[in-house]
């Protein structure tokens, strides 16, 4: 995933601005996709794309801020850069709290915009890697029985087999059997590796 593989989604109802930004971004080697409304973007977007979105705040129909809310709700992992005529402080704070990468004021210099796009694209790469790991770990953890998950939860907290046996009210030997099955199913190399998998897929563990 290099910068030139990234797609920049431009959501702006002003055709001149879409056109000018397209030229600017293509000049830098980005792929560009254009949308003249938030609704069009949402209809066309398929999950987990590498790149970022440049969104105009003031649009007819759904506004930029509303679009960001939907993006968060639908768990779309695309970093957002806002473009606004005059951003108020409240607006900026709200956008940044909702994890916007940047909040830029029109007219924006190429330097500022391209800088933000680069940041957003690397953020996108990071998010996608993390997400892949999470999915992977989740998949591995999904094969465990409920009892095995209990043992895993105890083990990654650093408890000894003896302690685990006492906590779960089972025999020392049973703990050993569960543990070897867990290592087998997750393919973890050692306890440290198991802890990593457990953390990445942490939502599955009680």
């Amino acid at each position: 995933m290099t910068q030139s593989d990234a797609t920049v989604y431009i959501v702006d109802d002003d055709s001149a601005i879409r056109d000018a930004l397209t030229l600017m971004l293509e000049q830098e080697g980005y792929l560009v996709r254009l949308f003249e409304s938030a609704e069009d973007f949402l209809a066309a977007y398929k999950s987990e794309q590498f790149g970022c979105a440049i969104i105009d705040i003031r649009m007819s129909g759904m506004s930029g801020m509303q679009l960001q809310e939907v993006i968060c709700e639908r768990n779309i992992l695309l970093p957002v850069i806002f473009l606004s005529g005059h951003g108020t402080i409240q607006m900026t704070v709200k956008a940044m709290k909702a994890k916007a990468v940047d909040f830029l004021t029109k007219p924006v210099s190429a330097e500022k915009l391209l800088n933000s796009v680069r940041m957003a694209v690397s953020e996108s790469g990071r998010i996608l890697t993390e997400s892949a790991r999470y999915r992977n770990a989740s998949l591995l953890l999904a094969g465990l029985t409920e009892r095995e998950r209990d043992v895993l939860a105890e083990a990654v907290q650093g408890h000894s087999n003896k302690e685990i046996a006492r906590h779960l009210n089972i025999s020392h030997r049973t703990v050993e059997i569960h543990k070897s099955r867990i290592m087998q199913k997750t393919g973890a190399l050692n306890l440290l590796d198991l802890a990593r998998i457990a953390l990445e897929g942490s939502t599955l563990i009680n």
Partner: protein, 497 residues
Amino acid sequence: MELISGLSFQTLFDVSPDAMLLSDESGLIVLANPAALTLFRYTKEDMCKLKVEALMPVRHREYHKHYRKAYIHKPEARSMSNGRALIALRSDGQELTLDISLTPLKTNEQLCTLAIFYPTDRRRVAEEAYRASEERLKLATKAADLAIFDFDSNRNVLHWDEDMRLLWGAESTDSISNKRFSTVIHPEDRKARQSALDNAIDPKGNGEYNSEYRVINPSDGSEQWVSAVGRMHFEDGHATRLVGVARNITRQKVFEDKLRKQRNENEILFKEQVAAQTISAIAHEINQPLTAISAYSEVALRAMKVGGIYPDNLKRALEGCVHQAQRAGNSLHELLSFLNKSNLVREVFDLNRTVKEALTIAKDDGYGGFYPELQLEKKMPNVIGNKTQVQKVIVNLIRNAVEAMQGIGIDDSKVMITVQTHKSINLAHLLVKDNGPGLDVETQKHIFEPFFTTKPTGIGMGLSISRALIEANGGELWFEPNATKGATFHFTLPFAT
């Protein structure tokens, strides 16, 4: 002695000029003297069949029966009415107002009562009625929270009641000179109050006195609003006496002030919001093409520096710049022509009347602390234009004048409005002149520019809009400093013919 002892009760009874009746315990009339027969217009036979209740109006009879029984238990010689006049009934139904005295007479068989009737003392009754009416008035004024004053305009002295004195800070005299009375009135209100008084004194006027002013209590410095209403009385075409009532309206005034302040604040807020939204819309219209132009130019610039752009794209970027610059220009033109048109409805109207209406609006808006002086050219032809807009401009000029004067604490804020025909050109000419601080050179330069203001809460659109409105109505608006102090704003409007 012989002679005297020979006089019987019967003789005295019959010759008495006062009407007399003798009644028994049951209230039956047993004897009536000729004076009584004359007074009540009965024959002796008829009268001696009656009970005493028959000699009084039906409405008093029942009560009298109880009264009579009580008297028999405790008989004594006394007046029946305790100073009040009583009403008796003549045989023909006529009611008589009388004083009655009662005397118990013990005979062998029973207790009789001698009643003697006297014509009522009219003066006493009149005094009684007057006292009652005074009492009523006092109670009513107290209930209505009214104080009473009586101004003798010949001697320039004011008689006042206790309540009025309290408002003025408890002077204990019954009267006060007008001059002294005025010293307690708030300096800003003295002039208005005096002119209301002068109007009432004017024999050509209707004599009505109506004034609201503040009173500063000399003992504790507290400020109260007073509303005084009265009517002047004239004798031979000269004002003599102004009687009226005064009421403490401080609470009402405080409430009104609060309401007005709130309304003004809301209006300012609203205007600011309208201005903010308009500006924001204009900014958006300009900012969009600027954004595109900026991006296009940077693309072109970079292409020239680094190379590696298709000639088609370079052309596209530069064409984009041109189009977007034109787009910005067009937006501005559209906006300006929208502002200029704005559905101007023209009508024929009387400028003098519009000035009076504008004055009322300005006063209602809480710009009441000034004295308007009108110089209206009578029989001036009607003008043509949008009346509402012209009215707004006049209100705006009055407000500016009043605010300028109040800003430097002039209590004699006089706004002179003149309506005349412009001498050199055939136009209606209106002048609003104040005696405020005037405008310094720097302010004069910018006074008609949008967003220029010298007021802490203004947004600086009033005069620039006013000028635009007058120009849209075919006139001109300008400013001239006064020779002595203050400023005068002028505008012209075309006549309808």
